[in-house]
């Protein structure tokens, strides 16, 4: 079943952000992937082919772009998708040990979901929080920082009880309609396009 067939206005909105040229159509690839992933948790092969057709390209190219980013998934993820930063700073601070502990504790490897559908795990590249290493990200929501074994146990217990603790640091979610960034907590940060002033003062 097609995902976008009954969403013409959404498609029109996404494509309207890019030039109406063959190259422009291809540029819509990422938001289309994001749309599917947000809705279904991962991008299946059928969706991949559907997006390729919408963008006027091949499924190979969609997979190529998609596989470049660790934030897109080709396999279903659990309700709690735990992403452990594995880049140098976190590795020095013990992320390898944390990963081993997490994997054996949950009895799950990348690409798998626990039988109750709750957990999946993934190593990711730098999450940009070296000062608070090692870092674990929960879904798209936020970071748990300086995750020791005790903290990890606490986190898993909370997740098993379906009460995810608030993240230590919400992830910035970019680009609201006015171009302003917003934290997951809803706090507005930074400037928006409305704040831009032409060079040389007021136009």
């Amino acid at each position: 079943m097609s995902y976008f067939a009954d969403k013409p206005s959404l498609l029109a909105d996404i494509f309207s952000r890019y030039p109406a040229t063959p190259q422009g159509r291809r540029s819509a690839l990422m938001p289309l992937l994001r749309e599917v992933q947000d809705a279904e948790g991962f991008v299946s092969e059928a969706r991949l082919a559907e997006i390729a057709q919408l963008c006027g390209t091949t499924a190979t190219e969609v997979r190529s772009v998609m596989s470049f980013y660790s934030t897109y998934h080709t396999l279903p993820t659990g309700r709690y998708h735990l992403q452990v930063c594995s880049t140098l700073m976190c590795a020095l601070a013990g992320s390898d040990e944390l990963w081993d502990y997490l994997v054996s504790e949950l009895d799950v490897v990348p690409g798998e979901v626990t039988p109750d559908g709750r957990f999946s795990v993934q190593k990711v590249e730098c999450l940009g929080s070296c000062g608070t290493a090692p870092v674990v990200q929960l879904n798209d929501e936020g970071y748990y920082e300086q995750v020791t074994r005790t903290k990890c146990d606490r986190l898993l217990a909370a997740l098993r009880a379906e009460t995810p603790p608030p993240p230590d640091h919400p992830v910035p979610v970019t680009v609201r309609e006015d171009g302003r960034q917003m934290l997951a907590s809803g706090e507005r940060v930074g400037a928006s396009v409305a704040d831009l002033v032409p060079l040389g003062g007021e136009a």
Binding site: A49, T58, T60, R63, S64, S67, F68, Y69, L75, V124
Partner: protein, 715 residues
């Protein structure tokens, strides 16, 4: 533009890449990702050089250092393939710069970091650029003692191409090839960084031009499945020759080992196929070494029995005894060489038979004025009733080349520019320059203007009755360098009236015409009188002939009387014949063929085991002997001498790239048959494993190396 490479001063055209500057200076720099007909991308980082340029003061004068302009060197080595040389630039290669030598050796060490070093068992060994360059430019030792990363091995991308992901060094040549040349984006990098591998999501490679990636892969990651593990590069006898499967006449190298044809690889002919060949040309060669007829066969008591040539000649003499030699009809395949055609023409005249024909051919000859380079550099192309995939595949690539701007890489004394900076990834294409009318299903996907229905296409184009046809006619009228390509659907029904209309169109619009001949050498053989003369029987009336000689034709019928078949295999027709004479394939002939542009191209003989197989000239000499006549042509030399007389061309010493020469008048006659072009013949079957070539069956292969699920975007 003055450029200095390793203290050698050069004068180079503007736009030259650093890589070509180095080669122009006679120096060497290693490279894996650069390729003359693909965009330079600087992916492999092997072609590092030190470079520096003079700088100007604010007043426009050069910053001087004593008498000379001061050279400001870039702080680090640069990739020469993506760097354009500028006036006064200095370049240092590994020969003069220790920095470059160290950087290249380090880069080589890095490239080999996860390469599996399968060299003893990899079938690219002996032809592997990585192996050669590691030997020339590497440290000779690695500092990395850990286990290498492992990826999929022996991964069948298609029936013809095997991928070994471990060996891939990410030069991206195959990815760029599919994007830029046939315009099929079926391969790409999946994953990133050290995890990157090549794969397709389309479930396989498209048939047509997939084999070219096995030529351009600089390592053993992509291998020709038909040829792999048949021999090492140094064991092959390499014969540069011309492919005679279609009228394009691509330059190929035929690799034979122990008398077997094991591999066909593409060779460069800038004017014809650049460096690409089609899959039929590359993979459809198994017939040359399989189930060949190696001895003559003579029908004794209703059955074909092996015999020697003397017995065969005797059988022919007996069979034709009491028959007027003029009743012997002579038919030859239109992929025969000019020399063979001349020999047949001479014999036909000698015995006075009016029944001479060649097949396949069309009932009328349309004059071709365009070359393949004209097609590639045209600003408008109209393809009329042609299925290029079946008739002339590489012509399709030249049309696609036109769509991306018709940029032909310049030529240097060291060869075609290795990194032409005008070629870019994902080039802008101009589909509005191409109209496809009827036929050509694959090409129409790239055309801005598509009209279905190839029948009567020429008549309809000359008198456009729909808006689309009017647009196509306008395309020709408004372009500066238009080309009209005519295919089988049009050519088998060209009447005198149509030909007049076409010539009117050509004069009015300055359009160049490329009519695709029916067979590999139809264009050349049309200049010899090889059509039925008055009272003669054409090939379509073979069954009426009192006696017939057929060279490599398989109509599945025989003549009314005595039938002699000259063929490479025991075909259906050969089974019906009275005498079967063994022939040689196009890979084992010496001679000349004429391609669709009218370019004379040389054929050379590969070292194949053909038993007592003989080419048509020798066979006709034997036939003449059986008939008791003495023909003037008894070998290649005399045939070439006759050609010089008949056509006014010297074909004895043709260059590899061929030459275009006028060949004089053409002979035509109506034909009662309709020709349907088909590139792949039964014996060249697309599934080589089905033809007993001992390549494991695809199902077996998949069972052996079962494709495991990819984790996709997750690590």
């Amino acid at each position: 533009m003055k450029v200095v490479v390793d203290d050698i001063e050069l004068d180079l055209p503007a736009g030259t890449s650093g890589l070509d500057a180095v080669f122009a200076a006679g120096r060497d720099v290693p490279y894996f990702c650069a390729h003359p007909y693909l965009s330079p991308v600087g992916a492999c980082r092997m072609c590092l050089v030190e470079s520096g340029s003079p700088r100007r003061n604010p007043d426009g004068t050069l910053v001087m250092e004593g008498e000379q302009p001061k050279i400001f060197w870039f702080p680090k080595p640069m990739a020469a393939c993506t760097m354009q040389v500028t006036e006064g630039m200095h370049i240092r290669t590994a020969k003069t710069s220790d920095v470059v030598a160290k950087a290249q050796a380090g880069m080589m060490e890095f490239t080999l970091l996860n390469h599996p070093l399968d060299c003893p068992t990899c079938d690219k060994g002996g032809a592997c650029e990585l192996q050669d360059r590691a030997f020339e430019y590497g440290y000779g030792a690695s500092r990395y003692g850990f286990d290498r990363r492992h990826a999929e091995k022996h991964f069948p991308l298609s029936d013809f191409v095997i991928l070994d992901q471990e060996r891939c060094i990410h030069c991206k040549r195959c990815v760029r090839y599919f994007e830029e040349v046939p315009g099929q984006e079926v391969l790409d990098f999946i994953e990133r960084g050290g995890h990157t591998f090549i794969d397709t999501e389309e479930g396989g490679l498209p048939t047509g031009f997939q084999g070219n990636i096995t030529d351009i892969c600089p390592v053993g990651a992509l291998l020709d499945n038909v040829a792999r593990f048949r021999g090492r590069n140094w064991e092959y006898d390499h014969t540069p020759t011309t492919c005679t499967l279609c009228p394009v006449g691509c330059a190929i190298t035929v690799d034979a080992r122990n008398g077997r044809l094991e591999r066909v690889v593409a060779r460069e002919n800038r004017e014809v196929n650049e460096v690409w060949i089609c899959d039929a040309g590359r993979f459809g060669h198994v017939f040359a070494s399989e189930e060949r007829l190696t001895r003559p066969l003579v029908r004794v008591k209703g059955e074909l029995r092996e015999a020697d040539w003397d017995e065969a000649i005797l059988a022919i003499r007996r069979g034709l005894g009491g028959l007027n030699p003029a009743d012997l009809a002579l038919y030859l395949n239109a992929d025969s060489t000019l020399e063979e055609g001349a020999a047949l023409e001479a014999l036909a005249e000698l015995i006075g038979t009016p029944s001479v024909d060649h097949w396949p051919r069309y009932g009328a000859n349309v004059e071709t004025t365009a070359t393949l380079t004209d097609v590639a550099t045209a600003d408008a192309v109209v393809v009329l009733g042609a299925d290029l995939g079946e008739e002339a595949p590489v012509l399709e690539l030249r049309v696609l080349e036109m769509l991306r701007g018709g940029i032909l890489p310049p030529e240097f004394p060291h060869g075609t520019a290795i990194a032409d900076l005008r070629l870019v990834e994902r080039p802008t294409r101009h589909p509005e320059r191409l109209a496809v009318i009827g036929g050509a299903p694959r090409l129409s996907a790239h055309a801005g203007l598509r009209v279905t229905g190839g029948q009567r296409a020429l008549a309809r184009l000359l008198r456009p009755d729909t808006d689309e046809l009017r647009a196509a006619a306008k395309l020709l009228a408004q372009a500066k360098k238009p080309v009209l390509i005519l295919g089988a659907d049009v050519l088998h029904s060209v009447s005198r009236e149509l030909a007049a209309g076409l010539s009117d169109l050509v004069t009015r619009t300055g359009t160049k015409v490329l009519a695709i001949p029916a067979a590999p050498n139809s264009r050349g053989l049309a200049h010899l009188n090889l059509v039925p003369r008055a009272g003669g029987l054409g090939y379509d009336r073979l069954a009426e002939a009192r006696a017939a000689f057929l060279s490599r034709l398989d109509p599945g019928r025989r003549a009314r009387g005595f039938t002699i078949v000259h063929d490479t295999h025991l075909t259906a027709t050969a089974r019906l014949a009275d005498v079967v004479l063994p022939a040689v394939t196009g890979y084992e002939k010496r001679g000349t063929t004429v391609n669709l542009e009218g370019r004379l191209l040389p054929l050379r003989q590969a070292a194949l085991e053909a038993g007592e197989g003989a080419d048509l000239i020798r066979t006709l000499t034997a036939l003449a002997e059986a008939l008791g006549v003495r023909t003037r042509i008894r070998g290649l030399k005399s045939a070439q001498a006759l050609l010089a007389e008949r056509l006014g061309v010297d074909v004895t010493d043709l260059p590899n790239s061929g030459v275009i020469r006028p060949l004089g008048r053409t002979f035509t006659a109506p034909t009662g048959l309709t020709f349907t072009p088909r590139l792949w013949k039964e014996r060249m079957h697309p599934n080589p494993e089905r033809r007993g070539s001992r390549v494991p069956d695809r199902a077996d292969r998949i069972a052996t190396w079962e494709r495991t699920g990819q984790a996709g975007g997750d690590d």
